[in-house]
Amino acid sequence: MPQPIFPHLVFDVAHLLAGAMVLISLMMLYQGRLNALIKVFALQAVALAASVAWQAQAQHAPHLYVTAVIAIAFKGVVIPVALHRMVARLGIHRQVETALATGPTMLAGIGLVALALVVMLPVTATSDPLAREDLAFALSVVLLGLLMMVTRRNAVSQIIGFMSLENGLILAAAGARGMPLVVEISVAFSVLIAFIVIGVFLFRIRERFDTVDVDALDRFRGGRA
């Protein structure tokens, strides 16, 4: 049997795709406009789908293809289209207000990626290298998603932050070889996002405030003190 040309191909491609997700997370941090942010998010969903599909192939786990299809169809197409329409209807497509300037946010993001690597790599030294690198990247995506939720003031971008965080979780779950219930978990998350966020909240918030800026909610803090 001839020697394969790329002996580490399985690992390299998984690495590339997971790394791409981290890169896209960092790209999201500096997107000023909502429409651009939604497009970058869709790109991450595509990277997630590719990554999960690659894991499905590498682990011979056909059920993971379902997760990949959910990722690309739901988060790559349905959600971005819905968000675009919503943003247009609400007339908030121009600017994203951030609590922190781009520079410090990016620095914090780089710091978080470093933190994720420092925390995960020593701990998982004995694990399967494929899962190990995936887990470190996944934690980076999770932390960057959290950072985005913290630094954005706008409800739509907070939701995108949450969905990107969730992309990281799906990446981690797909990377853990043979983990049961991955498909169920990705379905549960899709339901979470679809039902609550899109269906109920934004319409109610819009109804009441004509804005989806979470700052507007702060004005109504009754009886806080």
């Binding site: 004995t126 934690l139 959290l146 939720m149 949450f162 853990a176 049961p180 909240f201 109610r204």
Partner: protein
């Protein structure tokens, strides 16, 4: 399922009832009869939970009923039943005043059952993944209920709850994945790596570093749902802005379910000799919650927020007790959890009545209840005295046990009794201060009699007082047994 007898098994009924009731109530357009269907479904669940005592199913890959979770399941279904009775009368008042529409109530009743289903499944699941999904379901259903009034405040509370709750649930999932990663080299790929009963027997061989990291994520994740400081920001808002029965269920039940999840993982870690001791983390977060929430009690102006902070304080106490560990502190923690659930839901029932007659949640506008509504006012006095830890309430007994067991620990640890007692006193002072205004003095306007039923409130208070004076022997033995299991 007990195929041999042909009768449906308790566990099957326990899980199927809320699921079927939710499906029935979602399209049910008549709110008043819907409320009583809700009560009936809760009653069936409670009976099924009692049935678990007699007929316990074998542990399967998904379902596990053991001595620990049976306590939680019975407590949960009992408080859910009494709250449903309270809710039935409370809701008809809300309909009359037009705060809620029949369409709102369809969501409300269906979600009540979905919540019950999620909590029960989380408690009896033998699988980490199933537990995670069911806690998510329970969270989702409460988010919808918190936002039910659709006022700006309610929407803000629901939004905040949703965001923080989702982050918590996401961190918990990451922790769950890490546990699986730790288990996988030992127990092999697939199903087994997420089954409690398998994990518990093999955990000594897991990689301790990975377990530690997993526990940190799980503690932060599920700890957010318990309302432990510093992750408690959602809790007061969610309690204050949702319908009062939901405040009672959140405080009395959902917080316990999240705590149960933390306890399970604590047990797992305790079995691995190389892993970090989970106790100090729980003790730290517990004490912080106690002190912060105690101090926050003083400046509350909203009655439901006041008691929400008191819930944070008590969850802190319970976490502290389980953090100390050992048979006595664990016993105190278990007893405190049960007593807190019963007392706090009774207080929320009383608060619900008071808010409806006074038409406001502002503390400054709810005064002199003992004069205008003697039974309600004095019940609230009894409830608040009990939750503040005065004898003969059951909370006194558990707090007393907790303080003495802290003193009984070895030297540096026993110093923690000082902040513990200080925290208890701070909270006690705040509650007394607020209580004197609510209960005594010239009554504020709003003296119409309460139409809703006092039954659930009086039943809970009676149970708490009886438990303070006399705990039945079998119950004590059971709790001692469970306390030993908790290590």
């Amino acid at each position: 399922m007990s195929f041999a007898t042909g009768l449906p098994s308790s566990i099957g009924v326990l899980l199927a009832t809320p699921a079927l009731a939710a499906a029935l109530l979602a399209p049910w357009s008549h709110p008043r009869s819907g409320a009583w269907i809700n009560v009936a479904a809760c009653a069936v669940s409670f009976l099924a939970a009692l049935g678990l005592l007699v007929q316990r199913p074998e542990a399967g890959p998904y379902i596990l009923v053991d001595d620990l979770n049976i306590v939680f399941v019975i407590l949960n279904t009992f408080v859910a039943l009494t709250t449903a009775v309270f809710s039935a009368t409370y809701i008809s008042h809300e309909l009359e005043t037009g705060r809620l529409t029949p369409a709102n109530l369809r969501i409300y009743h269906a979600m009540y059952q979905v919540l019950l289903f999620g909590m029960t499944l989380a408690l009896v699941s033998n699988n980490l993944g199933v537990m995670w999904v069911s806690i998510e379901v329970a969270t989702l259903s409460t988010v919808l209920m918190v936002g039910l009034y659709r006022t700006p405040e309610a929407i803000e509370a629901a939004w905040k709850y949703f965001m923080l709750g989702s982050v918590g649930i996401a961190l918990a999932l990451f922790g769950t994945i890490l546990i699986y990663m730790a288990a996988q080299p030992v127990v092999g790929e697939g199903q087994d790596g997420m089954v409690w009963t398998v994990l518990v027997t093999r955990v000594q061989e897991f990689d301790p570093a990975l377990l530690n990291l997993a526990f940190v994520f799980l503690l932060l994740g599920y700890g957010t749902k318990v309302g432990l400081a510093p992750l408690n920001a959602w809790l007061p808002d969610a309690h204050a802005e949702g319908p009062t029965p939901i405040s009672a269920v959140l405080s009395g039940l959902l917080l316990n379910v999240a705590l149960y999840a933390v306890l399970r993982f604590k047990l797992l870690l305790a079995l691995n000799p190389g892993a970090l001791a989970p106790g100090p983390l729980l003790m730290g977060m517990g004490l912080a919650s106690l002190l912060i929430a105690g101090a926050m009690l003083y400046r509350r102006r909203d009655i439901k927020r006041l008691f929400a902070y008191s819930s944070i304080e008590h969850m802190g106490l319970i976490a502290f007790a389980f953090g100390i560990g050992g048979p006595i502190a664990n016993f105190a923690g278990l007893l405190h959890m049960v007593m807190h659930s019963l007392t706090k839901s009774a207080i929320f029932f009383a608060v619900g009545h008071a808010v409806q007659v006074k038409g406001t949640q502002k503390l400054s506008d709810i005064r002199g209840l003992t004069t205008s509504h003697p039974l309600l006012g004095w019940s609230l006095v009894v409830g608040v005295l009990a939750i503040a830890g005065l004898p003969p309430g059951g909370v006194f007994m558990s707090e007393f046990l907790l303080v003495t067991s802290t003193f009984a620990t070895p030297f540096p640890l026993m110093l923690l009794a000082v902040p513990l007692v200080v925290g208890l006193l701070i909270a006690f002072g705040a509650l007394m201060l607020k209580l004197s205004g609510i209960a005594f003095g010239a009554p504020s306007p709003g003296t119409a009699p309460v139409k809703a039923s006092y039954g659930p409130m009086l039943l809970h208070l009676a149970l708490v007082l009886i438990a303070g004076l006399y705990l039945p022997g079998p119950l004590v033995t059971w709790f001692q047994h469970v306390a030993k299991l908790l290590g």
